[in-house]
């Protein structure tokens, strides 16, 4: 199941009339072979007392047969060519998700561990990195969106819904006087972020499409 098909579109030539089916068929066969290999050390059992490998093996064979049929159909029927693959979108989106995963709480990588920064860092990082998945990205808009939306999420998930999501690093929390409750710390940090977003918006405010940005930051 880890077989990530990375083949690019083959040129349309020769007897192959349906590159999409060809590649899809090959991917299914590879996947089936991989699954059969992965369960090769498990007992199959009998129909009366099925072992853990029996059903997965049948299914893998079924997937493989479908792959074979697709492969054959690639030579007999005309079908759509493989669509163009873009790299920019997947790279930035995947990167954004991984950055979120390793910054939301300490994540051990070998002997080291990433610092657990909480949602206050993970949220904006995910939005800004992910935002660059499209060539139309604009840093200013993304920063405003990141600050405002993270502040909104901190209040929604941390304060209102009390979900166990780390919000900000302990160091930041320690800056507050002892008397301030956790909820109020969260609220003031979120308020500060929202104000920063507003300030950036007002300072860099030019006549080009301002209304839209102001409108959706709170709502999306």
């Amino acid at each position: 199941m880890t077989s990530q098909p990375e083949r690019a579109a083959e040129p349309r030539s020769g007897p192959i009339r349906d590159t999409q089916s060809l590649v899809a068929g090959l991917a299914l066969i590879a996947l089936a072979a991989f699954a059969v290999w992965a369960i090769s050390n498990l007992p199959q059992g009998t129909l009366r007392q099925m072992g853990p490998a029996m059903l997965p093996r049948w299914l893998a064979i079924g997937v493989g047969l479908c792959g074979l049929a697709l492969l054959i159909s690639a030579f007999t029927a005309v079908g759509p060519a493989l669509e163009r693959w873009s790299l920019r979108g997947p790279v930035f989106v995947i990167l954004a998700i991984f950055v979120f995963a390793v910054t939301i709480r300490p994540f051990p990588i070998g002997p080291l561990s990433t610092p657990g920064l909480g949602l206050i860092a993970a949220g904006p990082l995910a939005i800004i990195i992910g935002g660059f998945a499209t060539p139309e990205a604009r840093l200013r808009d993304l920063v405003i969106l990141a600050l405002a939306l993270t502040a909104f999420c901190m209040v929604l998930f941390g304060d209102l819904l009390n979900l166990p999501i780390p919000m900000f690093p302990q160091a930041l929390s320690d800056l507050f006087p002892q008397t301030v409750s956790n909820d109020n710390r969260l609220r003031s940090v979120a308020g500060l972020m929202a104000l920063t977003a507003l300030a950036i918006f007002l300072v860099t405010h030019r006549s080009s499409r301002p209304a839209d940005v102001a409108h959706h930051t709170g709502q999306v």
Binding site: A24, A38, R105, G123, A133, L145
Partner: protein, 514 residues
């Protein structure tokens, strides 16, 4: 009949019940929590569902964590509200932007968007809302009426019958899937194969886990759904240059005229009937409802040429069918415990998170939850009618938010959502992985929905298959010797043969490409 009313009464009492809530500043106050949750669910569901490119599956997966805090009844009422909201939001997008949020609102774009271009967007939205509301009322009563008898039927089902029923459901899913039948079969098999990853419940041996600890419990359903539908959808949308065709014309008045209503009554009735029946079918029958309703209206019309140019019947019929099907597809889930489509599969996930195993025992063990959920469907439909019509202006503004700002927000909500379920960073990484897998599947021309259905039914199927074979001492004939089981398999076989007949196959392509 008396039972029906008593049960519905219990349901409404649950929905309307007051529970004490500790409000900050006010102290404990009695609030009708369930109805508030229903309202919030409908509102938030519509809000996300309106966004182009975000269908009900992604919406529910994304909003799952906001239901965690509440008791199971409240959470499920809210989730159901999110579901109708998302469904309804999809229709709004279809009418105003000509982008179907998901398969079932494809036909609404045909005439709905044309009406919008003629400055009748308001009437189209209003008619969709009225049709949906009517269909919702009928479907609610239908669920309440069929709930009890079907549950009794389910209790006499043994493992062999369950297994055959699920086979039939999967065959239906194959037949009703868009695109190549072969590819749909491959996806379902792959889905079942994925469901076998993890510890084997009977022998305790790990299968295909490669010694990785986070795989020993199997692949998490929410992770798979979020990756395949949330992230992969973003990746797909990023590839297409965005052409959003938001109507520039005025929305116009919302209430249909007497003439519009007169034209729409029959289509609404027919759409409701078609949608309700198709929705009950296991294997995503609800998808077919709007298509079938549209075809019927076109066939019956005096002047079929009006269709595709803004005929109000082309909005009223399919929209009613859509909503009726969306609701009756709860029937297999609530009575038999078998999700008929990917959205219901997500509901199973949500119920399991709240510690409820869907199936016939829900009605007897948790009557409040069962009937409360059914009553909330009707309340939810009423709320949609009230929420949506005055808020159309807001939805139009929301539709103008550019995708370059929308998708990073969706991305972050997906990350937060999946992290909040198990607090595991590896879960977050897995949605990236399944996002890539889903992107590859889409590029290869595979539909991810059958895979998800196969994944959910997979575990149940394996369990029932093994049990049936233990009972029959390894004799496969047990599935044919037992009457009900043989009947279900026969239906499945007949459906498959019919779908493979060349003439039908051609027609099937036409229906889905229309």
């Amino acid at each position: 009949m008396g039972d029906l009313f008593a049960n519905l009464g219990l349901g409404f009492a649950t929905v309307l019940s007051l529970s004490p809530v500790d409000l900050p500043g006010l102290g404990p106050t009695s609030l009708p929590v369930n109805i508030l949750l229903c309202f919030i669910g409908c509102l938030v569901g519509t809000l996300i569902g309106v966004l182009p490119g975000v269908g009900p599956i992604a919406t529910i997966a994304m909003l799952l964590p906001i239901t965690f805090k509440f008791d199971p009844t409240g959470a499920l009422i809210m989730l159901a509200g999110i579901y109708y909201g998302a469904q309804y939001g999809g229709s709004t997008t279809a009418i105003l932007v000509n982008i179907p949020g998901e398969a079932t609102s494809v036909v609404t774009t045909l005439d709905g968007h044309q009406m919008a271009r003629q400055g009748r967007a308001g009437v189209a939205l209003g008619m969709a809302a009225i049709g949906s509301f009517f269909a919702g009322c009928v479907a609610t009563v239908l669920i309440a009426a069929l709930g009890a008898p079907l549950t009794r039927l389910a209790l006499i089902f043994g493992p062999a019958e369950y297994f055959s029923l699920m086979i039939m459901g999967l065959v239906f899913a194959v037949v009703l899937a868009r695109g190549s039948i072969l590819k749909a079969v491959a996806m379902i098999l792959l889905g079942i194969l994925l469901s076998t990853v993890g510890t084997d419940l009977e022998t305790g041996q790990e299968r295909m886990t490669f010694g990785l600890q986070f795989l020993s419990d199997g692949i998490d359903f929410a992770v798979l759904a979020m990756g395949l539908f949330g992230i992969a959808e973003i990746l797909r949308n990023l590839d297409n240059v965005e052409t959003r065709d938001v109507v520039k014309q005025a929305i116009g008045r919302l209430l249909p005229s007497r003439e519009d209503l007169r034209q729409s009554i029959a289509p609404i009735l027919r759409g409701t009937a078609i949608g309700s029946i198709l929705g009950i079918l296991p294997g995503n029958g609800a998808v077919l409802g709007p298509f079938a309703a549209y075809t019927v209206e076109k066939k019956l019309a005096k002047d079929p040429r009006r269709f595709g140019r803004g005929a109000i019947e082309g909005v009223a019929g399919p929209e009613s069918a859509n909503n009726a099907g969306a609701q009756t597809s709860f029937i297999p889930l609530l009575t038999l415990g078998i999700p008929p489509n990917a959205v219901m599969a997500l509901m199973v996930g949500a119920m399991t998170i709240h510690g409820i195993i869907p199936g016939p025992q829900v009605m007897t063990k948790n009557p409040n939850l069962f009937w409360g959920m059914i009553a909330s469907m009707w309340v939810g439909n009423l709320m949609l009618l009230i929420i949506n019509l005055p808020l159309v202006g807001l939805w139009v503004r929301l539709l103008k938010v550019p995708y370059r700002l929308m998708f990073p927000a969706i991305l972050m909500f997906c990350c937060i959502g999946i992290y909040s379920i198990n607090s595991l960073p590896t879960d977050v990484m897995f949605i990236a992985f399944f996002g890539l897998v889903g992107y590859a599947l889409i590029k290869f021309g595979f539909e991810p929905a059958p895979l998800l259905l196969g994944f959910v039914l997979g575990k149940l199927m394996e369990e029932n298959l093994r049990r049936a074979l233990i009972i029959s001492r390894g004799d496969m004939m047990t599935f044919l010797e037992r009457g009900v089981s043989a009947g279900l398999l026969a239906v499945a076989l007949i459906m498959l043969i019919i779908a493979l007949l060349p003439t039908i196959q051609k027609r099937r392509d036409e229906v889905f490409t229309e």
